[in-house]
Amino acid sequence: MKTSALRKVDEIESYQIAEKPVLTERVERLKEDFINTGIKTSVERAKALYDVYLEAGGEPIVITRAKVLDKYLRNMTLYIDDNPIVGSLAKYPRGVNPFPDYNEAANKLFSSFGDMDVDPKEKELLKQVDVYFRGKKQVDIVNKIFHELTGLDRQEYINHGVWIDIVGVCLGLINLDYGKVMNIGLSGVIKEAEEGLSRLDVTYHEDFKKRDFYIAVIITLKAVIAWAKRYASLAEEMAKNEKNAEKKSYLEKIANTCRWVPENPARTLYEAVQSFWFVHAAAWIEQAQGAIAPGRFTKYTYQFYKNDIESGRITDEEVIELFELLCIKFSEIGIQYSTEVYATGAQQHTAQTFLIGGLNEYGEDATNELDFLWLEAEKRVRMVQPSTVCAWHNKMSEKFLLKCADTIKMGLGKPAFINSHTAVKRNLDRWNCTEAEANAFTIIGCSQSAVAHSMDNVWGGLLNYAKILQLTLNNGKDPKSGKQLGLQTGDIDSFKTYEDLESALSKQFRHFTKLLRTVSRVSENVHAVYFPTPYSSALVDDCLKTGKHVLDGGAKYGGDADCLAGAVDVSNSLAAVKKVVFDDKKITISELYKALKDNFVGHEETQRLLLAAPKYGNEDDYVDQIVRKSYDEFYDEESMHKSFLGKDDGRPWGVVVAGHSWFGMHVGAQPNGRAAGNALTDGSISATPGTDRKGPTALIHSASKAMDNTKYSGNIFNMKFHPTAVSTEDDQKKLLSLVKTFMDLGGYHIQFNIVSSKLLREAQLNPDQYRNLVVRVAGFSAFFVQLDKKLQEEIIARTEQCFA
């Protein structure tokens, strides 16, 4: 049905409830292909990199880096499949590019998709490139400078699980000005760069440096245009030999589109999407393991949709299919991990953060029809990427919120909710940006708010607080390796009071935070000087105005940041020591030490006492205040250090990515009762699995005060619900009231995982991890793991029914 009348959000009814997601035949097939396609390493980017570096001679690095992108885009092997959105990072579907210039991962071959396959001949070449870059890699340069500064071996801290840093991987999380390219074309952006160049007086040093940047920008933008046109030529070629009329016209449409965008302004929604995709994919090629966020996609594509609908060029069903195809493209982006990031198990986490809902620059509800259509597409296609986040605010329509809840029901954890009001306040406080910029914020990374396409958000590293506590209890020494990693803050027996322990921990905590800041700043400098990104910079404000790339101070706003993992584990541990050792005097601190050393074997009674001590997530200030104090202290220490650009805008993020399991492997038994090697708590303000026993509202009370959400740029808070809690519209409304209350209480990020039968099976196998899992079925409510096997099976059967 074509319609020329433009509908308001309120009139969108038809996509409210689609019980059985219907995929078109080609989406079904592409999804099937995606699932069945193996992951392969492509060596073509490494080859282009190697060739350019060999020829580079003494030219400025920014030009060399531009040439690497140029060479690759002009030479990579292209393919066109049944997805009308074309463009891929590598020559294979689900191909992954190694980055031997950044890290050692080229030899290890893991990616966000899992272990990678590589052609033996290509592997030889990869080795050759890897050898060439030894000593020149980003990671090698950082290690060398860090050692010069501190006398310390950075790798040692990582091997012990003290932190994971971004050395050797991405420079940060960015959001590009995709809308600008849709509106003025890359040709328009090139013109801006040319104007910038013409304004310079290169006889002055400052301007002379900018000259190289502008030239590099122009090289890369032209390369992306050329890349698109190569797809156009390939499609034309394929069309020539195509007998099937339908396929021929499909290929001709691709040819016409890629001939036009991204060079020129888009004229239709399809062209806008294709323009977006080229711009997005090229950024993933330019730098290693980025976290490049589409951001406000449904806002900057809206005008194209509106025009198409008004002129009858497209139907909503066609838009949904286009969005499903785009979800498949997002999911095809794979990145190569450094060893330790791979080990965190951050599978499929490419953090292509996608905002829906939100506010416009005037602070009004920015939800439009495309937000509805996007959710419908996500509901039907059910892919892991992008990371869709609903920017919740109190002017949001109930209809849209119900659409979100109805999508959550599918069990993908999408969309998450973040609090727009907090994001706006944070933007204003932190960066002193304009009100319009603050309102029309975007989301990057896991949940962090940012000023749209104007920032250099550099992720520093992730500090393992649980490891720091372990070191503190061992006078700074790692009990397993015997290495003195931390300060000597006293043997455990010297802690006569709880405050003694607290003060020793604080010293260690601040010491490691400072060390990590040092690593981060060195790494950022190495990124900035050795690995500039002229292409991405061209699409971040105000790089083209200032003639500086993103990490050279070109971004309008910014700030580097580190993250803290293990705050909840440490707080539960501190509360347990306080309660069991110092308040109740049930055991001595030496007995505690012995129990931890023996991993509780033979000390079961001690472990039971520690497990029974107050735990975060139950609305108990005894421990909740320790969590708050931990985050406040980390913030305090972090904010004492300026960013690598010497600015006072470095602030920590309250996100843990997926470090909890890898970190846990490196931490021995803890005073919270956790045995050695088990995963730490997921999220940053989630409760330790199994320990929040007072229900969702109590957990929300604890979580909403766990950290200062205006100071921190984001947090991760996961809650689990049984599908019966969201099955009817009435239930969904209650879930949305829960969200509203969390936000009213000052919460920021909340995400719902719907319990599946798979998860219940997991709970049967690992009951300790799921002690808090309540199932409520038909007025019956119980802790799942306490039920006997037969009853558990019955619950599992009922859970499956909910998804049927």
């Binding site: 509202t697 009370h701 009231s737 209480l745 306490q786 006997d788």
Partner: protein, 301 residues
């Protein structure tokens, strides 16, 4: 606040199926009925009771020594048995049990203690048009305690719901209703004889109360507890619908039989009398629903 204490066996927060909005449901212990299908057998007696979850027990026998009343016996194979005549539900064994295999159902709480918990979620109630529900057992079996709790809830401006089996003297129920915004009224069997057989009491008083409550213009939802073979015949449903029409046609919610509570009987040392019943098939539920709908009544599962 009134200095009254009462026996509570659970306070469930984020309760979403016991009245409108997000609620806290306070379950009071003790019930005058002994329905054969009862899925919360621990709610029937008013005093605290020990639940022994045999399948979790690690046979460490720590509880045997700590029990002040020597109520725990070791059987020849190492299994444990609770002597219900000796056990007073003191909970010493619960604290010592490393396997969480022992629980005490029922706690003596003051009005203040209960209110302290339910008022924490005030903002959730406000944002969802929710409130507090009193259930059981049978909430009216502890009338003074219930009345005191309801009064405090109304002082705090909370919407209140009473979930009742209706078996209570009118002069006890009437003052309670003054503080109740919605009644969830259980209907189990319209035939007095069968009612006596399945629940242990006659339904005469219950049905009189239903009529009286409705005549006072208090919103009522009928909760029809459907049990296979006990009250699910076409004849039973017809009688149920006619009863509802007689009351003026309040909304009917169907509470379907499930077997999830069976294990509790074993852990309480009680016998489950409905061994052979099986949960309803979807078609049967649809059939019942349609039958009720044909009377022009509003019905939800």
């Amino acid at each position: 606040m009134d200095q009254i204490n009462g026996y509570v066996f659970d306070i469930q927060r984020y309760s979403i199926h016991d009245g409108p909005g997000i609620r806290s449901t306070v379950f009071l212990k003790g019930c005058p009925l002994t329905c054969v299908w009862c899925s919360n057998p621990e709610s029937q007696k008013q005093v605290p009771q020990l639940l022994y979850l045999k399948h979790l027990c690690s046979r460490c026998h720590k509880c045997v020594d700590i029990c002040p009343n020597k109520a725990i016996r070791v059987l020849p194979e190492g299994d444990l048995e609770v002597d219900r005549d000796l056990c007073v539900g003191c909970g010493f064994c619960v604290d010592i049990c490393p396997a969480e295999a022992r629980q005490v159902s029922g706690k003596l709480m003051s009005v203040e203690e209960v209110i302290d918990i339910v008022k924490r979620d005030a903002l959730f109630y406000k944002n969802s048009d929710g409130g507090v529900t009193f259930s059981g057992g049978e909430a009216t079996a502890q009338p003074e305690f219930l009345l005191a709790l309801l009064r405090e809830c109304k002082k705090l401006g909370f919407h209140t719901t009473l979930d009742t089996c209706g078996f209570v003297k009118w002069d006890i129920l009437e003052p309670v209703l003054e503080y109740v915004d919605l009644v969830l009224f259980d209907v189990k069997q319209t035939n007095p004889k069968k009612h006596q057989q399945y629940t242990g009491v006659s339904n005469k008083l219950i049905f009189e109360n239903a009529k009286r409550i409705l005549s006072q213009n208090i919103p009522v939802i009928l909760r029809a507890v459907l049990i296979p073979g006990c009250n699910d015949s076409d004849e039973d449903i017809r009688a149920l619908a006619e009863f509802a029409l007689e009351l003026g046609g309040p909304e009917i919610n169907l509470m379907l039989y499930h077997k999830l509570g069976i294990k509790k009987y074993e852990s309480l040392g009680m016998k489950y009398k409905l061994e052979n019943a099986e949960p309803f098939a979807d078609e049967k539920i649809e059939h019942i629903k349609e039958q009720i709908l044909s009377y022009g009544l509003n019905v939800k599962v």
